[in-house]
């Protein structure tokens, strides 16, 4: 194995570890939110510092590889992809932390029928399963699975799109829930953005594996 290959292998390991941590943050954010558990929420908030540190470390590793090894072809695409995926993972973790912060700030139970009607639970599950699948696609360099994840984002977009009218109907009937409706809507928007970032990761993987650019294409 050449020095460059060793560095690329090590970079992949670091990005996989960061992906695993981002997934763990999402899962904990879900637990915290669905149960209004401030203790779990605090753990998510605490872990965010670790995510930020890993992001900086991976950025630096990519910079060093560019500067010292001048990678070309698939090696170049790989390092570019890792740099972008690193940024997407950090944003995903930011959203998880944002959701956890709501739990700490809001600290009261949400109306169960509102959660059910907006399909928030399903949204969390789809986002988590997309993140898990993209980690497998990345680890195994499976472009087909990456494409599947890429297309799955549309499901989160649909839930997000419908949520405003659902929440509006509830709020009209019962103005007392306006505050928690806003709180819920904001969470839904965060999960929708999580989906966008996972879709970006799928794009980056396909760019690395197939040299194909999916960005700004109108499918999914």
């Amino acid at each position: 194995m050449t020095h460059l290959e060793e560095e690329l292998k090590s970079l992949k390991k670091s990005v996989l570890e960061m992906t695993a941590l981002a997934i763990s943050q999402l899962k904990k954010a879900k637990d915290a939110y669905m149960n209004m558990d401030t203790e779990i929420a605090q753990v998510v908030i605490h872990n965010e510092k670790r995510m930020n540190a890993i992001e900086l470390s991976i950025d630096r590793d990519c910079e060093n590889i560019f500067a010292l090894f001048n990678p070309v072809a698939s090696d170049l695409r790989f390092v570019i992809a890792m740099l972008k995926i690193n940024s997407d993972l950090e944003r995903i973790a930011d959203y998880a932390e944002g959701i956890a912060s709501y739990v700490v700030d809001f600290d009261q139970d949400l109306r169960a029928e509102l959660i059910e009607a907006t399909k928030l639970n399903l949204m969390f599950d789809i986002a988590i399963s997309m993140a898990q699948d993209i980690m497998v696609a990345f680890d195994e360099e499976d472009d087909k699975l990456a494409m599947k994840v890429y297309k799955k984002d549309v499901e989160l977009n649909m839930i997000n799109k419908n949520s405003s009218s659902v929440i509006c109907d509830f709020a009209k009937k019962d103005p007392d829930i306006i505050v928690q409706s806003l709180f819920l809507f904001s969470t839904i928007r965060k999960l929708e953005r999580v989906g966008d970032h996972i879709k970006n990761i799928a794009e980056e993987l396909i760019f690395y594996l197939e040299a194909e650019i999916l960005k700004h294409k109108k499918n999914g």
Partner: protein, 265 residues
């Protein structure tokens, strides 16, 4: 992964750097070719010396095995130390120095002898002629030089029949056979094709586990790929010396930045 940013922790043997120069000036006659060069090379590292032609980097390299001594009108001021000892002291033995410090040149220079005899040569002139000892040393050295699989069935073949890349690895094997602790390399891959160059670079990267290596190179990318430390020479001065990562991502001196980014040189 690449080390964390900031200073790489230097390994210093017994309180001394493996190689060290202190306020060194070098003259060829009246011409000053190196000016006030102070530099420390830690053990088991690869140090790359870069800079445009005529900047003094090869002259500097050759100070460490006293090869400049053969140049007419050569004169040196300041100290050159290996493992803390002044190698220009009056009672210094050149033969001992050359055992400690091996050298690989730009152009592969095997002797017109068999592969085996090339590698055994240094040991034979030390008076070692025991076949078993030589066999073992030859095999070990050729293996370390990542050449064994390509030549093991034909060690009697004339070394000049090998490819350029193989000849250069053979020269490295020849250097390793006398068990130096330091290897100086002057443009070791500049006469080779990209595949052979990659093999030499991988080899340098592996050899640093057991040797301290100083490489002069015109190829800045090569310096980035193989070295832990980089020194940039310009007009006889050591403009900047530091961790290779720092030199290539955040050089402190504008001249270094201009050189490594190809703006001059």
């Amino acid at each position: 992964m690449l080390k964390e940013s900031g200073e790489m922790k230097d390994r210093i043997k017994g309180g001394s750097y493996m190689l060290e120069s202190k306020n060194v000036n070098v003259f060829y006659g009246d011409k000053k070719v190196l000016q006030d060069v102070t530099l420390q090379v830690p053990e088991n590292t690869v140090t790359a010396l870069i800079g445009p032609s005529g900047c003094g980097k090869s002259t500097y390299l050759r100070l460490f095995n006293r090869m400049n001594d053969y140049i007419e009108n050569f004169r040196k001021e300041g100290d050159i130390l290996i493992d803390g000892k002044d190698i220009y002291r009056k009672d210094a033995e050149i033969e001992e120095l050359r055992k400690t410090v091996g050298m690989v040149f730009q152009k592969p220079n095997p002797f017109p002898k068999s592969i085996y005899e090339n590698v055994a040569y240094g040991l034979r002139i030390q008076g070692i002629n025991n076949k078993d000892v030589l066999d073992e040393a030859v095999e070990k050295s050729i293996k370390k030089a990542a050449l064994w699989d390509e030549v093991k069935d034909d060690l009697k073949k004339n070394a000049l029949a090998l490819s350029g890349g193989q000849q250069q690895r053979l020269c490295i094997a020849r250097t390793l056979a006398v068990e130096p602790s330091i290897i100086l390399m002057d443009e070791p891959a500049s006469a080779l094709d990209p595949i052979s160059t990659a093999k030499i670079e991988s080899l340098i990267y592996e050899l640093k586990q057991n040797y301290t290596i100083v490489v002069v190179t015109h190829n800045m990318h090569q310096a980035g790929r193989i070295s832990d430390k980089t020194g940039f020479f310009y007009l006889g001065e050591l403009v900047e010396f530091g961790d290779t990562k720092q030199i290539f991502t955040n050089p402190k001196n504008k001249k270094t930045e201009n050189y490594i980014s190809g703006r001059f040189g």
